[in-house]
Amino acid sequence: MVVPALASVVVLFFGGMYHGLLQSLGLAPLQGDPSFTFQYYSELIHSQDFWRSFFLTLRISILSTTFSAGTALFALYSLFLIRTRSTRDRSVYFQRFFQISMLFPYIVAAYMIFLMFVQSGWVARVLFNMGLISRMHSFPIITNESFGWGIILAYVWKTSPFIVLLLYPVLLRVEKGWLEAAKVFGACSFSAFREIALPMMKRPLMVASFIVFAYTFGAFEVPFILGVTYPKALSVYSYQIYTSGDLSEQPLAMAINIIILLTILMAGLITFITASSNRNWMETPWTDL
């Protein structure tokens, strides 16, 4: 039953990674004989360029994930308020509305952020016309700067709706009855949210955050448009090596890909461990009701 799906995934997905792995270890060269070697990995480890790219990408991913989760939780709390305030639950419409940015491919989103937040962009113009800044140069640099703020902004804009999408069904499971009970005990809606809804969301939140981390760590198009000359995000770095025309360097690109993979796996492991250890803690609050 699952065989066809499983087979496709194994062949296509794992095949691709496996082949990349082989190449990175020198076992599937385009020219010459295969020979097992760690030289490409060693080359990367000794390369300053690589480490700069690695830490840049890591930092961007961690910050993006954190801000995205924060924004999502804020949005969820707002939806919670909307939901609990009136008898007709209008929160669904707002939730859908919040997801507007999911419509656009990352390329378009990155482009939009670029156009809006470049120093001569739209936001700067509004501020200028409002008298808040006196010169174009006074507008802070957000796009194409080495910390990656533009990239983070684009990621948060696109991924917080994703987290909300995953967590919203949990919100819906909070029964009105519990909230009534909570109110009877004098709890305001914030505590209700914190004590009831949040713990329920903890696990899916971790999973969602991990997915966002994994995505932002390996994504290509956004840092390509909003990043700087140097250092480049890992995936851009890898792609440029792959398409540089120097075939002997392709295993380097594959090695970078494998390292991207390993980092994501590590993050996954960490998420898994944290999520499991939290399980007991999560069950208690609402069984107490």
Binding site: S120, N144, E145, T229, Y230, T243, G245
Partner: protein, 424 residues
């Protein structure tokens, strides 16, 4: 409670089998490509042109070229393609590309994998991409002397056509258009453009944040860097001299020094550079910087006409001259429609096509034609094309043409810039 009668399992089993087979079936019809070898192809190189035309009839030609310029795209789609279809029954398909280097890499991989039938029939390339392609045997040719329009209208001895950034084209790529590096500035902010490097440095120091250049390996940015080198060498002749005497390194070091000294007065204090000339253009259009630069001498005219640059935009060249190069069309070794490609390229070399392409509202790209081969009428048509105050007249440009450095040299320069300037 799961019913598991024998029938049930059998049904699911068959279903399963079908589903496993289906994806494989979908794969099959498309795997028969690689069998056909070039042995079956007629020898185009020794055919009569009439035969080439006959062979090309009915073929589809895929032309891979940069896709970000509406003028260029429209020229190909609306002027060239219909003519090829009507006159020769050739379907021209323009494939928009972000970076032609990706295509070179693709053909390279295809060569490694011995793929005899490639997807590209014409590649719009020059410089380093051409050198790479030649080094790896990716192109088919030599073919240009087979094209009637080449023989009739193009000077085979013209050095700036024969040598592509120092590499002998050996007939493997047909010159299509010419470019020359020009500086563009906003005359509202700048009364006297800096005609030399020293003047530019002064200007930048007095007006910080108003100048920058695209970071190499962007082609235009790389050219600016080379212009700096050129001025330090003195002239192209002196450059050759210095090279022969192996005294270049000191001059190079001076240039990196200069560029580093320039940094704090650049846009963003030189902490980042626009990644492409397109982005620099946007900064210029928005007024963030007061200069931009371009390999198309008519770029300023085009952009003003399109309302993207202010009316006060003007063009100038450095007193020491600016680099001028040619861009070409080549045919990959594994092109499927070589005859069609030849006919298409021939059309693009015709006087009509070259003049049309030169018209500023179409594209404004320089012509590769030998003016001594043109008739009086043709010369008259040329003279009627208005260039406006935004761009320089052709005579002035011709006076300042400097041949390009070799692509190896350029590659080295780009790497050195990254090390000496970009990363610091």
């Amino acid at each position: 409670m799961q019913p598991r009668g024998g029938n049930y399992i059998m049904k699911k089993g068959l279903f399963l089998l079908l589903l496993v087979l289906l994806p494989l079936v979908l794969l099959l019809p498309f795997s028969t490509h690689s069998g056909i070898t070039s042995a079956g192809e007629p020898d185009l190189k020794s055919s009569e042109w009439q035969d080439v035309i006959a062979l090309a009839s009915g073929q589809t030609v895929h032309m891979y070229m940069w896709g970000g310029n509406n003028g260029t795209n429209l020229f190909i789609d609306e002027w060239v393609a219909p003519r090829l279809l009507d006159d020769h029954r050739i379907t021209l398909k323009r494939v928009p590309v972000t970076d032609i280097r990706e295509m070179i890499n693709k053909v390279l991989t295809e060569k490694q994998m011995k793929k005899e039938k490639g997807s590209a029939d014409i590649l719009w390339i020059n410089g380093e991409n051409f050198r790479l392609a030649m080094e790896n045997g990716l192109l088919w040719g030599p073919f240009i002397s087979l094209l009637p329009n080449y023989r009739e209208y193009i000077d085979p001895d013209a050095e700036d056509l024969k040598y592509d950034f120092g590499t002998d084209t050996q007939g493997y790529e047909a010159p299509w258009g010419k470019a020359q590096f020009v500086m563009i500035y906003n005359s509202e902010k700048i009364t006297e453009p800096p005609l030399s490097l020293a003047e530019l440095m002064n200007f930048i120091r007095e007006n910080p944040g108003r100048f920058t250049y695209p970071s190499p390996p962007d082609f235009t940015g790389s050219c600016f860097v080379r212009q700096v080198l050129l001025e330090n060498y003195g002239s192209y002749g002196k450059y050759l001299d210095l090279k022969a005497k192996e005294q270049i390194l000191q001059k190079k070091a001076d240039s990196w020094d200069l560029l580093n000294k320039m940094k704090p007065y650049l846009w963003r204090e030189g902490n980042t550079y626009p990644d492409s000339v397109g982005i620099l253009d946007q900064l210029f259009a928005n007024g963030e910087v007061w200069f931009t630069m371009n390999y198309n001498p008519l770029h300023a005219y085009n952009q003003v006409r399109n309302g993207l640059f202010p009316e006060t935009t003007r063009t100038y060249v450095f007193r020491s001259g600016t680099f001028s190069n040619t861009h070409y069309l080549a045919i990959p070794f594994n092109a499927k429609s070589k005859a069609g490609a030849m006919v298409a390229i021939n059309l693009l070399l015709s006087v009509e096509a070259q003049i049309e392409k030169f018209k500023p509202h179409v594209w404004g790209d320089g012509m590769v034609l030998d003016s001594s081969a043109l008739s009086e009428e043709q010369m008259e048509v040329l003279g009627r094309i208005y260039l406006g105050p935004y761009s320089l007249p052709p005579e002035e440009l011709e006076k300042s043409r400097v041949p390009e450095f070799s692509s190896q040299e350029i590659e080295m320069i780009e790497e050195e810039w990254m090390e000496e300037v970009g990363k610091k």
